[in-house]
Symmetry: C2
Subunit: 208 residues, 2 copies
DNA sequence: TGAAAATGACCGACTGGTCGGTCATGCCTG
DNA sequence: CAGGCATGACCGACCAGTCGGTCATTTTCA
């Protein structure tokens, strides 16, 4: 039974860590890393500050765990891979629509990452690089494979890929974070379609 | 002679404030608002913390002064107006090239604004809205005027405009802040041309 | 009852902000 | 011209409060 007890304990331990990470992400997205004290996180999780330090060695360690736990990379990879057998037009539309939904689902993480982006907290920057750089590589590779040299305009697919992500991100930030939604209520699908359309015509060319 | 003395003093006072604002912007871009103490700012400006408070009532007041002092809006407006009599193609190219140079010149302000974007420091968010929203309005208006309903694709020019700014911003952040420049060294003009090309073909359509 | 878990008082470092005191400067007066 | 006097820019020790992190103590529970 010691084994069972131990694994039960481990399960509880892991569950606590997960809950703390969850609470921390929510609070950090609201008030920032520096703006949220460990006491506040512990409080929101219903434990004391002392107990917090039984589960994480430091505030920094919690940040690292949050970023590891919630990295967007796997889902981004899955997203890119899932469109591999669509037509290019379909693929881009699907990608944009999924990315949009993704951003909405992971709003807190996006906020946290944006906020700590140029920060002295290197982990956030690394996390960003771990997501953005590989995503970019995947997209560029995909585009080059699909287009072939003659169909693509003579532009860098790496730059174009970044542009696509930039469009999505900026429009997301405008609509969902800066509150532009109130002034210009457009359905998510329409937005995604617009982005995909601009990108497709811009990059692929000719095909009107 | 008291008048001259007074104006000399005022000039010195204003110069001090300007220097403090300059130093603060630089440090804040590096370490963030919360991450930079008033003492550090005063130190970097070669004065004591006590003296700092002769020139600004609070740290918050300094932030407000920095954002007012360095607002990008006038230059953005000038930028949009300066391309008013070009052809659309030329206008977009020029706009992108200018915007790119602009971001480089105001790197610190861009960093600070991005960093404090979703922050509890409302001023940064306001500043962003004061730049982004009017910029967006100008661009959308310009595009609609130039294109006319039949030439534009059936997409929102507001969304498209945000997409353009998003492309520029994201590629800037990738190249200049995340350090992607090292991996993909492309000239500024090439990048600007690529962005303009994608946008033009994407939005304007047909014209290959 | 004994060990594991949880607590919150406590610590030292640091924050934004204050304030009494110093001293170079330049005017006033003789 | 000289010397005393007033000015105010400047300093940095200091304040109250908050932070991340520790640890002796109490609570819990098998």
């Amino acid at each position: 039974m010691p084994k069972i007890a131990a694994s039960e304990k481990d399960a509880f331990y892991e569950q606590r860590r997960a809950e703390l990470a969850d609470v921390a992400l929510r609070l950090w997205a609201e008030k920032g890393f520096d703006g949220t004290s460990v006491a506040a996180i512990a409080d929101a999780a219903g434990i004391s500050k002392g107990t917090f330090y039984l589960y994480f060695a430091s505030k920094q360690a919690l940040l690292e765990d949050v970023l590891r736990r919630y990295t967007l990379l796997p889902s981004v990879q899955a997203m890119v891979e899932s469109v591999a057998d669509h037509s290019l037009e379909e693929a881009v539309h699907t990608f944009v629509r999924h990315a949009w939904r993704h951003l909405n689902q992971h709003r807190d993480l996006v906020l946290l990452t944006l906020r700590e982006l140029p920060s002295h907290i290197e982990q956030a920057q690394e996390a960003l690089q771990h997501v953005l750089v590989p995503t970019n590589k995947l997209i560029a590779q995909y585009l080059e494979d699909r287009l072939g040299p003659e169909r693509a305009r003579e532009i860098s697919m790496v730059i174009a890929g970044r542009g696509l992500v930039g469009m999505i991100l900026m429009i997301f930030v405008s609509q969902e974070i800066l509150g532009a939604k109130r002034f210009l209520p457009v359905s998510d699908d329409d937005i995604a379609a617009t982005i995909a359309q601009v990108f497709l015509h811009g990059v692929v060319g000719g095909a009107q």
